[in-house]
């Protein structure tokens, strides 16, 4: 193991910074204990099923609809977050205003709040008798207990991912580029789309991917606002819980495994796009 790593880093010879083997060892142990072994155990439990059984479970009408609900809502939520995340990060980095620190700190609240609390609070706000839901109800739009409600909960839990991915990149971005572009006669819009946006695009993708993956697997906050009607507003993680409630562990992990694979493929795809785009922007 060590040999390989050293080989990879061998371009510059020996490691200049001490403690490499120790910190790498800790990293691998942690990753193994916390990520790889639990994930492997999911695959192992699911492998108790025959391929036919596995196929039957994950193609069940309710399960497929659960995947579609979770995926489509998470996708919309991640897209919304990407747009508003850029705006939020932009405001926080580029402008000075009173209480900026507090606003900045608030971005992280969705991380800190237990998801069930978030779900209950969002639901009571967005039901047709709630503060916000009441306004929309007058226009005939129902939010809570529909897919709009699910999407809103996913926007809530996903926004920090996008903002926190973009912020450091914007902070590092040198004003000189914009000034140069302006002097050369570029319009403001052109400066944003041709100079700034390509720089923050990879970071936005990272945030998008993380928010999407989080949304697909989200249970705690969504389950309260979802309505959970089979084939309509039933999310995939709820079906996992429902299988567990029936003591069908293998079935539950089968559904989970597909979710995991979807999330993994999305993150992989995003990484590939990033590598491609960073070739252009960094060279």
């Amino acid at each position: 193991m060590q040999q390989q790593i050293v080989k990879v880093k061998n371009k510059k010879g020996i490691h200049v910074i001490p403690g490499f083997s120790l910190s790498m060892g800790v990293t691998i142990t942690l990753l193994g204990l916390i990520v790889l072994i639990p994930l492997a155990s999911i695959a192992l439990t699911a492998s108790k099923l025959s391929p036919m059984e596995f196929f039957k479970i994950v193609t069940d009408k309710q399960v497929v609809s659960g995947y579609i609900v979770s995926l489509s809502c998470a996708l919309i939520a991640a897209l919304v977050n990407s747009v508003f995340g850029v705006i939020l990060a932009w405001v926080l980095v580029r402008y000075d205003f009173p209480c900026k620190r507090i606003v900045d700190g608030m971005i992280e609240l969705p991380f800190a709040l237990p998801t069930a609390v978030a779900g209950i609070a969002l639901t009571s706000l967005y039901v047709d008798k709630g503060w916000i839901g009441g306004i929309f109800a007058q226009a005939g739009i129902e939010i809570a207990y529909t897919s709009i409600g699910i999407t809103i909960a996913m926007i809530f839990i996903g926004i920090p991912f996008v903002v926190r991915s973009i912020q450091p990149v914007l902070e590092k971005l040198d004003n000189e580029y914009e000034e140069a572009a302006a002097i050369l006669g570029a319009s403001r819009r052109r400066i944003f789309f041709k100079v700034i946006f390509p720089e923050i695009f990879p970071a936005m993708l990272t945030g998008f991917g993380l928010a999407l993956a989080r949304g697909i697997g989200e249970y705690g906050s969504v389950v309260f606002i979802a309505g959970n009607i089979p084939l309509k507003t039933q999310i995939a993680p709820l079906l996992i819980v429902s299988k567990l409630e029936q003591y069908k562990y293998a079935d539950a992990t089968a559904i989970a495994l597909i979710l995991l694979i979807i999330s993994f493929l999305i993150l992989l795809l995003i990484n590939i796009i990033q590598v491609r785009t960073s070739k252009y922007t960094n060279s």
Partner: protein, 351 residues
């Protein structure tokens, strides 16, 4: 850019570790204390389900007094509450419970199937090991605008029903079976008509929450629906809190919900708490405990004490039991298993 992603992942895994560690230490504490105390002190853990929280808080004080007088021993009772099914799973996965007091016999049977509880537990205590019972009633908003009197009114157009999903909440199986029992009587066992009835009923369900407490908050806090199908004791608690906003309706027929209790033999043996654990459950049948049960809106199984509460409970309801459905295993297979009747309500093509 890849660096950002991997840094985030690392940060996440570190947070996970910290959280994990704190959970471990949190759980470790209570078991150690029990064995460390040299004085006559014993600790037992009661793993129960959500709506018994208030009752067991009161009962534990009562039992402590009793045990001190009887044996001169201090007993410390750790109570854990959650969804009945997930509580059963936590015991299966190694949560060291001396006794379990759950919503369904089925959840205890699941623990028995793992070899933690000896078979025959259901006959260890009186009344199928159910010291208290409850039933399914309707909670409606004050004034009962939709005029809901019985199950038949729930399938009418425009009536919004709130009830949890029996596939994620074991307790909600009772709701479904109670509706089934009504239709069974109404249509003289004509299965097609009964199915049609429950299908209509569940089509009127606006929100299918994952648990009973979730349904209560959907109905009470968020103002959804016209009627909540609720456990009688939960309905009483809501009435006690907000007497001017809700009314309780007892339908003509319902089901006698029998939450079961059992000693987790393997854990009690290992911790040497067998005697106190069975005494803890046995004492639930004492007059004092039965009174406490009634005061907490569960129905006492002791007939004489139940009569003392005749002002509280409607004792003239027509009740079926799980045995009318052939026991839990059969009932679960027939109605709630994947692809069984409950699933068909949603997946069957519309007529």
């Amino acid at each position: 850019m890849k660096g950002i992603l991997s840094k985030k992942l690392l940060a996440l895994s570190v947070t996970g570790l910290v959280l994990g560690a704190s959970i471990f230490t949190g759980c470790g504490n209570n078991t150690e204390e029990g064995t460390a105390g040299e004085a006559k002190k014993v600790e037992i853990t009661n793993v129960s389900y959500d709506p018994t929280r208030e009752f067991y808080a009161a009962y534990n004080e009562e039992f402590k007094k009793y045990w001190k007088e009887e044996k001169g021993e201090d007993v410390e009772i750790v109570a854990s509450h959650g969804g009945s099914g997930s509580q059963a799973r936590s015991v299966i996965e190694g949560n060291e419970a001396d006794v379990v007091t759950l919503a369904l016999a089925r959840d205890i049977t699941a623990i028995e199937n793992e070899g933690l509880i000896e078979s025959g537990w259901i006959d260890q205590f009186e009344h199928n090991s159910s010291p208290y019972t409850s039933t399914i009633v309707f909670l409606v908003r004050k004034g009962n605008e939709k005029g809901i009197k019985d199950w038949g009114d729930l399938v009418k157009d425009g009536v919004g029903v709130i009830t949890p999903n029996p596939k994620t909440s074991g307790g909600a199986c009772w709701n479904f079976l109670a509706a089934w029992a009504y239709a069974d009587k109404e249509f003289n066992g004509d299965e097609a008509k009964i199915k049609d009835f429950v299908t209509k009923l569940y089509k009127n369900v606006l929100v299918l929450d994952s648990g009973a407490r979730g349904s209560t908050s959907t109905f009470v806090e968020n103002g959804q629906g016209d009627v909540l199908l609720a456990w009688e004791n939960e309905a009483f608690l809501t009435l006690k809190e907000k007497p001017n906003e809700y009314e309780m309706i007892t339908p003509s027929i319902s089901i006698l919900a029998e939450p079961s209790v059992a000693v987790v033999d393997s854990v009690a043996k290992e911790r040497g708490t067998e005697e106190v654990a069975s005494a803890y459950l046995e004492y639930l049948y004492s007059d004092a405990a039965q009174k406490l049960i009634g005061e907490n809106f569960y129905r006492p199984t002791n007939e004489t004490i139940l009569k003392d509460f005749s002002k509280t409970f409607n004792l003239n309801m027509n009740m079926v039991t799980i045995n009318d459905f052939g026991g839990w295993d059969k009932a679960y297979n027939d109605y709630f298993n994947d692809g069984a009747i409950f699933d068909q309500i949603y997946t069957a093509p519309a007529q």
